[in-house]
């Protein structure tokens, strides 16, 4: 009975919200700040991908906050799961194909990951997507050889320094007399690989940070013992 009332409630709520949403003018957004950003982004940040210029320029501190959230959840997961990794002997070793495929795929995925990160200001993609692929590249050996361990020390070094360099790039702009996280070194070469000043550097930091965080999260999950 409780679930029925719950479903009715959810349905009613949905219809109410739908009625409210139908008052919105779909397909014709006001774009007060959207069109401004669209007009100024190439000059102000030098990125052809305007979403990138919003993520790393106009709303860079959101991205910093987001990296911090990812860091916070990785640290919290570390606190929760503890550092005793009993690398489970119960896991089956990956077959020959998985193993050799893993070692073949690793450089390939690293290349793809960095390619996506470095082209984030030109094409769709960037630090987050590239970072996930980097994490997957690091994760692959774990799947292929359950005995293999991620190098936790270097991982936490990358974690720390990638996040710190995002902030330090922002602080560097302050030293130059500009605002925190203001984009710098803009050349007038829109569409080129080396065009968006500090933005690709920021995306590199984001990519490494995301990759390291996710890799450590995944390795923690895979290295905790399964019940029975």
């Amino acid at each position: 009975m409780g679930s029925l009332t719950g479903l009715l409630f959810a349905g009613g709520l949905g219809f109410m919200l739908l009625a409210v949403a139908s008052g919105l003018d779909f397909g014709a957004p006001p774009m007060l700040i959207g069109s401004e950003i669209q007009a100024h982004a190439p000059q102000q940040t030098g990125a052809a991908n305007i979403v990138t210029s919003v993520v790393l320029g106009y709303r860079a501190i959101d991205t910093l906050g987001e990296l911090s959230i990812l860091f916070a959840s990785a640290v919290s997961a570390g606190l929760v799961l503890g550092r005793r990794h009993t690398t489970a002997g119960t896991q089956t070793k990956g077959g020959f194909i998985l193993q050799s495929g893993g070692s073949l795929l690793f450089p390939l995925m690293m290349t793809i990951g960095f390619y996506i990160i470095f082209h984030g200001h030109l094409t769709p993609g960037g630090g987050f997507q590239g970072g996930v692929i980097l994490a997957a590249a690091f994760f692959l050996p774990l799947l292929a050889r359950p005995g293999a361990r991620l190098h936790h020390k270097s991982l936490s070094l990358i974690e720390g320094f990638a996040g710190a360099s995002f902030i330090l790039i922002g602080l560097f702009a302050m030293l130059e007399g500009k605002a925190f996280l203001q984009p710098m070194l803009i050349q007038d070469t829109l569409g080129q690989l080396v065009s968006a000043g500090t933005l690709p550097l920021l995306y590199l930091a984001v990519g490494l940070k995301v990759g390291a965080e996710l890799a450590s999260l995944l390795s923690r999950l895979i290295q905790t013992e399964a019940p029975q």
Partner: protein
Amino acid sequence: MSEIELWILLLLAVTMLSAAVMVLLVKNHIAAVAAASVVSLGLALIFALLRAPDVAMTEAAVGVGLSSLILALALRRLGLWRLDGSKTKTNLLEHHVENRDG
């Protein structure tokens, strides 16, 4: 938005909503995780249709790939990785008792 896009959209919407209901109702936990990743996949396709390639890529990488991986790993560690549907939610009490003994 063209006619064909409208139909694709309708198909995606129906798939996603029914997958979302499945996540809650299906007995098997693996199937529930699979249904959740179907929702993410549909979402990524909708994002692509809505001219949001960046978001679509992120949703595909994070929502479909990473999130499903995390959930699947969690299923293993939680001891819910069972392919047979007989272990239902109501039976959970039963196997935790045998776990505690073991």
